[in-house]
Homo-oligomer: 235 residues x 2
Amino acid sequence: MAKPVVSEAARRRRRPTRSGTVLSEALIVETALRMLREHGSAGLSARRLGAVLGADPSTLYRYFGGMDELTRAIGEELTGRALDGWRPGGDWRSDLRDLGLRIHRAYLAHPQAAVLTASRVTGRPREIAADEAVLGVLRRAGFPDGAAVRIYHAFIDQSLAFAALDAGSLALAAETREADEGLWETTYAHLPAEAYPHIAATAPLLAARMKDSAYPVALEMLLDSAEGELGRAGG
Amino acid sequence: MAKPVVSEAARRRRRPTRSGTVLSEALIVETALRMLREHGSAGLSARRLGAVLGADPSTLYRYFGGMDELTRAIGEELTGRALDGWRPGGDWRSDLRDLGLRIHRAYLAHPQAAVLTASRVTGRPREIAADEAVLGVLRRAGFPDGAAVRIYHAFIDQSLAFAALDAGSLALAAETREADEGLWETTYAHLPAEAYPHIAATAPLLAARMKDSAYPVALEMLLDSAEGELGRAGG
DNA sequence: GCCTTATGCCAACACCATTGACGTTATCGC
DNA sequence: GCGATAACGTCAATGGTGTTGGCATAAGGC
């Protein structure tokens, strides 16, 4: 076998690579993030990553079991950055809004990485911390446990789902340089009004809105509904 | 060059492949869908697809510009199936609910394919038809154009986003056979109550709810909010 | 029945992840 | 200080991938 994959903590003998750099889990993940950002999600490969690090591709297998494990490590790094600095204020609605937007923003800061990792549920420490935070906000707001769990589930999955979706289109746009956004001005704007009357009637509005993420609107609608339920039930 | 990619409509000289089958766009897409379902999202490759069809891999390039274009065709097929048989009834809310659940269901019927395609905006005919349908329901319900477009955007992106997210976990579960669902009974249920009081307090509720998709709840909340807005504005 | 050309096939290229064997050298116990 | 051990970087090779140019053939319009 070629892969005991010594844990990072037990790693002591750091030999510099042929080109002089000293490897580490953190350095590899960081470099991979930079490569994803600069060369797109297809630009990350063991060979290229090795080349950038000045190391043989096979060296990476001393640190990660495979590209899949590296991908999960990158995802961990992203979710970790999402919660950094968040503290609950007093208002449950703005707390949740802030949390949702933070998650969305953290993923979109690295679209190419997000699209690779966003759909993986890890169950790792920082993800659990986020879950606890959301549940806490809802229960303190006065939602009974059943409602709190239901709303929590919708909220967290909505955030992750939109993060992945928006990261996907952002990554695609950055890579192909051909504006998918322009699709609304070209294809959709010139559809025959008889066959597609509603699109034709709202084409300018569509063109203006489809450029941006729908997440803020969807999030606000979810909060609307929750607030309505809270008003009807408790106070 | 090797790829004029004759359009399906202009295709007339159908020569049977060495193994006797006669190729077509539809047959290729259909076969690809079956392969994705049976062998997972990593099981689809030009070579394997060719082998199953009894054709040389390069033959596929007479029908699609590349694997990327094939992927988009698969996505188009999925969205098409979502709309099959849908007719608007009288009530806008149940119309939208039905449409949303159809999209979600159509994608989840082919999780491996959905995970490849759900984040691609194709701009192809059947996708446009779906957009037109949603906009029509909203405008007929009495929403002013601005609100209709805003709600349409949130609705369609939320449907696709959840479809992709849920398909991802479904595909992962099917491939690795290790139940992610059990995560809530194992990891989360045994967290220290001091550090994670809210998770601990709601653990049984969480375990029961996290197994299912949050999409129906999120959809209903979106519809709640829209109905509230309609009530306040027009009557 | 001829001609054109669409279309299937072949061979080849460049890339990919992954692995096993091999040396070298950094660190630990003494 | 010194030797031993094994961590870890490197090399070479395997079997996969998408994609392309050239070629032969048969299908269909005339």
